[in-house]
């Protein structure tokens, strides 16, 4: 278990095992489960009424701003993990702390601004508000 690669190989093996599990389960189902498809069964379930207009109906997607925020923040989290390792270093510790503080602060300003501008309130009005630009 010394070489660094074996760990990953084990993970590979585990993955395979998972796949095997899934396949085995499906096989067992194929053996045990009956199969008598009928149109009634195969139609989309909408609480009993007949399905209206295909399944991928245009639903207004309110979460886009959250998606943005996530992209911004989660990627900034990328820096936290390397930071974890250098923080104890004597000549980098304090400096890196300050830098990270600045970094997080900047991101927070962004969050603050977004919150202040109502991006986090549960409405899409912020997204497509009527704009009265004088046009040029």
């Amino acid at each position: 278990m010394s070489s660094g690669v074996t760990g990953y190989l084990v993970l590979l093996g585990v993955g395979v095992a998972g796949a095997v599990l899934f396949v085995a389960a499906m096989a067992s189902r194929r053996l045990l489960a009956p199969s008598a498809p009928s149109l009634a069964k195969l139609t989309t379930y909408e609480s009993g009424v007949d399905p209206a207009s295909g399944g991928w109906a245009q639903t207004h997607f309110r979460y886009i701003t959250y998606a943005f925020l996530y992209v911004v923040f989660a990627v900034d989290a990328v820096y936290l993990f390397p930071w974890a390792l250098v923080l104890r270093d004597h000549d980098l510790g304090v400096a890196s702390l300050v830098e990270m503080a600045i970094f997080i602060a900047v991101v927070l300003v962004g969050l603050l601004h977004a919150a202040r501008r109502g991006m986090l309130t549960w409405s899409d009005s912020a997204a497509d508000r009527e704009d009265q630009t004088s046009d040029h």
Partner: protein, 101 residues
């Protein structure tokens, strides 16, 4: 240590696929995905070279993180623009020329 060849091959594949996506697809989102693939290729190349060369500053790895970050920023802007385009046009097809005021 891991041998250099396999990652390089992956780099080539990723970049090629990404480039293909950029050139072949007209849907902005798919182009974006293609771009991300190219960026991933670049990042992988960085980290591979970084792990091969003994650099005191770990430049390769750091660069990879930078690339990831910038890519994320790009996605944020790109999604915003694409959303706006979709609102304005109802599709995100780039092949149709925009009427320019």
């Amino acid at each position: 240590m891991i041998h250099a060849a396999p990652p390089m091959i992956v780099v080539g594949l990723l970049f090629g696929i990404g480039l293909y996506g950029v050139l072949a697809r007209r849907n902005a989102v798919l182009v974006l995905i293609g771009v991300e693939l190219m960026l991933a290729a670049a990042g992988l190349l960085f980290v591979t070279v970084g792990s091969l060369t003994s650099d005191a500053m770990r430049a390769g790895q750091v660069m990879t993180i930078f690339v990831i970050t910038i890519a994320a920023a790009e996605i944020a802007v790109a999604l915003g623009v694409i959303l706006a385009v979709f609102r304005a046009r109802g599709n995100v097809d780039m092949s149709q020329p925009g009427e320019s005021e």
